[in-house]
C-alpha cells in the first residue's frame, strides 16, 4: 500500500469536488484525487498513492518507473484483486467476490 505509482493524467473533471482526474498507469486507468496538485494539466505525469496524486513527475522517469513496476509485477499487486491474493496466501479457496469498490464508483 505504500507504493506510489506514476501515471499520466488523461482527463480532469473540474466540476468534481474534490478535484478528480482519470489517470493511466501503463494501461490500467483509475480515477484519482488531484486536490494536492491542483495546477496539473492533461498529459502530465503524477505519482499516485491510494488514489491521491502527491507530486508531479517528469515523463522520462515516470515511464522508466512504470516499465520497472510492470516487470516486477507491482502493478498487479497494486491494482489486482486483494481477496484473491489473500486467499492464495492463506491457502484456502477464493473468498466470494465483492466488486472492488474503486471499480464500482
Amino acid at each position: 500500500m505504500c507504493l506510489a505509482v506514476p501515471g499520466k493524467v488523461v482527463s480532469i473533471d473540474d466540476s468534481a469536488d474534490p478535484l478528480t482526474g482519470l489517470i493511466d498507469f501503463g494501461g490500467v486507468q483509475k480515477q484519482a484525487c488531484l486536490s494536492y496538485v491542483p495546477d496539473v494539466r492533461v498529459g502530465e505525469y503524477v505519482i499516485v498513492h491510494v488514489g491521491f496524486a502527491l507530486q508531479r513527475l517528469d515523463e522520462e522517469s515516470a515511464l522508466a518507473s512504470l516499465r520497472l513496476f510492470e516487470e516486477l509485477g507491482l502493478l498487479e499487486e497494486e491494482f489486482g484483486d486483494a481477496w484473491e491474493q489473500a486467499s492464495r496466501d492463506a491457502g484456502v479457496a477464493a473468498v466470494t467476490e465483492e466488486p472492488r469498490e474503486s471499480e464500482a464508483r
Partner: protein, 380 residues
C-alpha cells in the same frame, strides 16, 4: 553480480556500485527506513552487491507491520459487528490479531471490503446511509493526506455514518527512537522518499545534526537505492552528516504544502504504540478535536481492548534492525506467509515476508523466487 542485469540501467548500476566499493574503506551500517525499500533491496540482492563491510539494517517503515496488535483487535471487533461495513487496504486482510484476521472475519460473515482509496469508503457511506462505514486509516505520512481528505469530505457532506479507525505513524520520531536505543548500530539513514514527497525535508536537518548521521532521502527503485547508499557512504567516509535529496524528481524541499495543510487541519500529533517496538512519544497522528466525532474507537467503544504478542515472534527486533528475519527460530518453520505469527511475515513491505520470498534456505534469490511464489503471491 548476477542480479545486476535486472536493473533498468545495468551500466549505471555498475558505475554506482563501483563508486561505493571504491569509497567504502571502513565498516558502515545504514538503515533503510521504508519497507518498500527493504523489499527492493532483497528482491534485487542489493545487500549482496555491496562491499561486505557496508551493512543495510532494515527499518520499521512498514505501516502494516507496526500497527499495534490492540488496534488490529479493535478492527476485528468492529468489523464483526452487525450493521458495519469495514473498509481496509488489501494488505491488512491477513495481518494476525490475537486469534484471527480480517480475512477470517469476512469468512465468519463480517462485511469487510477492500478499497483502493479512502474516498471509495466514503462513497460506500454515501450509498449506504443505514450502515456504519468504518475505514481502517493506517499508514505513514504518505497516506495521511488521503485519509485526512476522506474525513474532511465526510464532514463537508454531512455524512454521519462514516468513521476512521486511525493508526497513523510518523517517521522522524521513529528515527529518534532508533538512534536513542542503547543497542543502536545505525550510522546513516536512507530516508523514505514518498514520506518526503508529502512532508518535505524540514524535519530532518535537526536529526542529522543531533545524532551526527547522514540522512539521504531515497527512492524505491534499485538505482535510487544504490544512489542513496552511494551518497550516505560518501558522507560517512568524509565525516559529514547532512540531509541530501537523492530523489529530487519526486521530492521538493517543502514537500506538498497543500497536503500538509490538510493533515494539519484534521489530525494532531499523539504518542503511539508501534507493534513489536512499543510506545514512541509524539510518533503518530490522531483525529483532532474538530474531527473526533469521526473516531471509530469512541463510536464503537473499543478502547478497553488490551493484548499481548506471541512470545515466539521476534518481529519487534526485526523492525528495530536488531536481528535479520532469518535469525528468528520461527522463521520459515512455525511462521510462514500461510501461518504468520507477526505482521512482518504478511505485508508486502514486511522484512520477514521479503526474506521468505527471496532468501529462504539461503537459496540464490533468483532461484528461490519461483518456489516461494507458488506459496505466496509475488509481492515485489
Amino acid at each position: 553480480m548476477k542480479y545486476i542485469d535486472e536493473f533498468n540501467d545495468p551500466e549505471l548500476a555498475r558505475r554506482l556500485l563501483d563508486e561505493i566499493h571504491a569509497d567504502a574503506t571502513r565498516p558502515w551500517a545504514l538503515m533503510e527506513v521504508c519497507g518498500g525499500q527493504t523489499h527492493s533491496i532483497i528482491r534485487h540482492g542489493i545487500d549482496q552487491l555491496l562491499p561486505e563491510h557496508v551493512e543495510l539494517i532494515h527499518g520499521p517503515g512498514c505501516p502494516v507491520c507496526v500497527t499495534p496488535l490492540d488496534v488490529i483487535d479493535q478492527a476485528l471487533e468492529i468489523a464483526s459487528r452487525p450493521g458495519v461495513i469495514f473498509c481496509s487496504f488489501g494488505d491488512m486482510l491477513r495481518v494476525p490479531g490475537t486469534d484471527r484476521d480480517l480475512f477470517r472475519v469476512k469468512g465468519e460473515g463480517g462485511d469487510v471490503r477492500v478499497v483502493y482509496s479512502p474516498l471509495d469508503a466514503l462513497e460506500l457511506a454515501r450509498r449506504n446511509p443505514d450502515r456504519e462505514v468504518v475505514f481502517f486509516a493506517i499508514g505513514f505520512e504518505t497516506t495521511a493526506p488521503a485519509n485526512a481528505m476522506a474525513v474532511h469530505q465526510a464532514r463537508r457532506l454531512g455524512l454521519t455514518n462514516f468513521s476512521l479507525l486511525v493508526s497513523h505513524v510518523r517517521v522522524p520520531p521513529a528515527i529518534e527512537a532508533i538512534m536513542t536505543a542503547p543497542s543502536c548500530r545505525v550510522q546513516g539513514f536512507l530516508a523514505a522518499g514518498h514520506v518526503c514527497s508529502v512532508m518535505g525535508m524540514a524535519e530532518y536537518p535537526a536529526l542529522a545534526e543531533r545524532f551526527r548521521v547522514p540522512l539521504v532521502v531515497t527512492g524505491f527503485e534499485p538505482l535510487d537505492i544504490l544512489e542513496g547508499i552511494r551518497r550516505a557512504v560518501r558522507q560517512l567516509e568524509r565525516g559529514e552528516h547532512r540531509v541530501e535529496n537523492a530523489y529530487a524528481r519526486a521530492v521538493r524541499e517543502d514537500g506538498n504544502p497543500a497536503a500538509v495543510r490538510m493533515i494539519e487541519e484534521v489530525f494532531e500529533v499523539t504518542d503511539r504504540n508501534w507493534r513489536g517496538i512499543g510506545p514512541i512519544p509524539q510518533s503518530g497522528w490522531q483525529l483532532n478535536e474538530a474531527f473526533r466525532a469521526y473516531d471509530a474507537v469512541h463510536r464503537f467503544d473499543v478502547t478497553g481492548i488490551r493484548t499481548e504478542e506471541p512470545a515466539e515472534c521476534r518481529a519487534g527486533e526485526v523492525l528495530q534492525g536488531l536481528i535479520k528475519p532469518t535469525e528468528c527460530a520461527a522463521f520459515g518453520t512455525t511462521c510462514t506467509p500461510r501461518t504468520p505469527l507477526g505482521a512482518t511475515m504478511v505485508s508486502s513491505e514486511g522484512a520477514c515476508a521479503a526474506y521468505y520470498l527471496y532468501r529462504r534456505m539461503n537459496a540464490p534469490a533468483a532461484h528461490a523466487t519461483g518456489a516461494a511464489r507458488e506459496e505466496m503471491n509475488p509481492v515485489a
